[in-house]
């Protein structure tokens, strides 16, 4: 695999056909050994190459989240383009049971060793995208068409459309070998009231593994501080029509960006 040329053949790229759907503390899906080793190796090396050759693209601009990040959109012609392919979008939406729009926000995240834990949040945030809704074979990425993804700011006359995050996904890659006690997990919480006692479930950042879930008002999750080792991941969100969220949970459930 060297970049996305033509359709993505996921059936030939996946190694593990037994992903695990879990109900506790809220419905989510986990999988290890997601991709064939040669596919994973290219993803791993691409992340390392970007870190080494283009460290300036990682920015620290996420409030309350002790990490640096960069959009995948600028690397979509390489191996990482897999994550912003329509095939991957449809596969994740299908397993999550979500009718997603084709709007995708995807980034590489890097946590330095000893990064601070985040606070539990549910990811039920808006995302603004340019133009009309994508067609069935299209993907619309964030920050295209001059539309700011969080607040929808755009040039006069440029069409902008608000959708809501539908699925949050983390794929772990280019990390040192993980051992219990290293931290850096994604904590999943049953509730916020008892979050100070620790996560109900902690998903470890093991290379070539993933976790994802449908975003709802109660999908509380947070980064757990990593001790002594960095944590690297692909973080991405699929989106759904805002009307669906309004009908299911109401406007007050949406976590609008400040």
């Amino acid at each position: 695999m060297s970049g996305i040329v033509g359709p993505v053949q996921l059936d030939q790229m996946l190694a593990n056909r037994r992903w695990v759907r879990r109900l506790r503390p809220f419905p989510h899906v986990c999988a290890r050994d997601v991709f064939r080793s040669d596919v994973y190796r290219e993803l791993h090396e691409e992340f390392r190459r970007i870190e080494r050759e283009q460290p300036e693209v990682f920015h620290r601009n996420m409030e309350g989240y002790d990490a640096t990040g960069t959009s995948i959109s600028r690397f979509r012609d390489g191996p990482l383009g897999l994550f912003v392919s329509r095939e991957w979008h449809d596969l994740i939406a299908g397993v999550a049971g979500v009718r997603a729009t084709g709007d995708v926000n995807a980034a590489l995240h890097h946590h330095e060793p000893d990064s601070q834990s985040g606070w539990p949040h549910n990811d039920l945030n808006p995302g603004w995208f340019a133009g009309s809704a994508p067609g069935p074979d299209e993907i619309r990425l964030e920050h295209t068409g001059g539309v700011a993804v969080q607040d929808g700011a755009h040039a006069p006359g440029a069409p902008a459309r608000e959708s809501i995050r539908a699925v949050s996904l983390l794929f772990y890659l280019a990390n040192p070998d993980w051992q219990p006690g290293d931290g850096g997990e994604t904590g999943l919480f049953a509730d916020v009231a008892t979050a100070h006692r620790g996560a109900t479930t902690a998903v470890p950042p093991i290379n070539n593994s993933l976790v994802f879930f449908e975003c709802t008002p109660r999908t509380w999750h947070a980064f757990i501080s990593n001790r002594g080792k960095p944590r690297n991941s692909v973080v991405m969100w699929l989106h759904r029509r805002k009307n669906e969220v309004l009908e299911r949970w109401g406007d007050e459930s949406i976590e609008y960006w400040n």
């Binding site: 056909r17 037994r18 992903w19 695990v20 759907r21």
Partner: protein
């Protein structure tokens, strides 16, 4: 609620541990397992988690055919054993095999006289390794087995207590409190066999050396199933390398 199958019903404590998890993986297709877990559950399909094929998420997956029935319980808390027994009987109408695999162990390399570490651990060792297995056996007897001697014998119902080789040998590493509790479990097992035999329940203990370092976890799991299929009672079956 009965499942309508002729699989034996196994109530397994410590199901999220190394041994319990291996038992569930090996015998999930042969037993209806009530898997009692504290935090972790075995990597086997249950009512709380199951497998999905990402390329065909609606398709049936063979690994989901026999799902564990997981009950989360902290057995150190009062009333939890009773709650688990009630749930197991409500779910399956019966229990054919009780495997007491949950346990507690604290080894203190400096030994018994080094501060109060092992002294302070003694009550917890005896609670988890002796009282909890006894409480499960007793509550199952009181609520299901006691007046079913013919049915118990016909179904070859029995108890397997997971003990340890440390119960009968002196190993280094500050295992005194742990070893004493497992020795007590062995003797308790003999008494269970004597008393429960009247109503047709067998009781045995399995005393393996360390697994998986010295004996394989697979061999311990096989030995549990072997005791279930046997007719012996009152035995403490040692399982060592070679």
């Amino acid at each position: 609620m009965s499942t309508g199958t002729d699989r034996r019903v196994c109530l397994l404590t410590g199901a999220g541990g190394t041994l319990g998890s291996a038992f569930c993986q090996a015998y999930g297709g042969e037993y209806d397992i009530v898997a009692v877990c504290r935090h972790r559950a075995p990597a086997v399909a249950s009512q709380y988690e199951w497998f999905v094929d990402p390329l065909a998420p609606e398709a049936e997956v063979p690994e989901n055919a026999n799902r564990l029935f997981v009950v989360y319980a902290d057995l150190e808390h009062d009333g939890e054993v009773e709650r688990v027994v009630e749930i197991a009987l409500a779910r399956y109408d019966r229990v054919d095999l009780l495997v007491n695999a949950a346990g507690y162990s604290l080894w203190h390399s400096q030994g018994l006289v080094d501060g109060d570490v092992l002294l302070d651990s003694l009550a917890r060792h005896f609670h988890m390794n002796v009282e909890v297995p006894l409480r499960f056996a007793t509550r199952l007897a009181q609520r299901f087995w006691l007046h079913r001697d013919l049915g118990n014998r016909a179904a070859n119902r029995n108890i397997v207590n997971v003990s340890s080789m440390a119960a009968s040998r002196v190993y280094p590493g500050g295992q005194g409190a742990y070893a004493a509790s497992k020795a007590a479990l062995n003797q308790l097992t003999r008494h269970l066999a004597a008393e429960f035999g009247v109503f047709g329940i067998r009781a045995n203990a399995l005393a393996p050396n360390s697994f998986p370092s010295i004996v394989s976890t697979e061999s311990v799991v096989k030995a549990i199933a072997g005791l279930d299929g046997d007719t012996v009672s009152g035995r403490v079956l040692a399982l060592d390398a070679g």
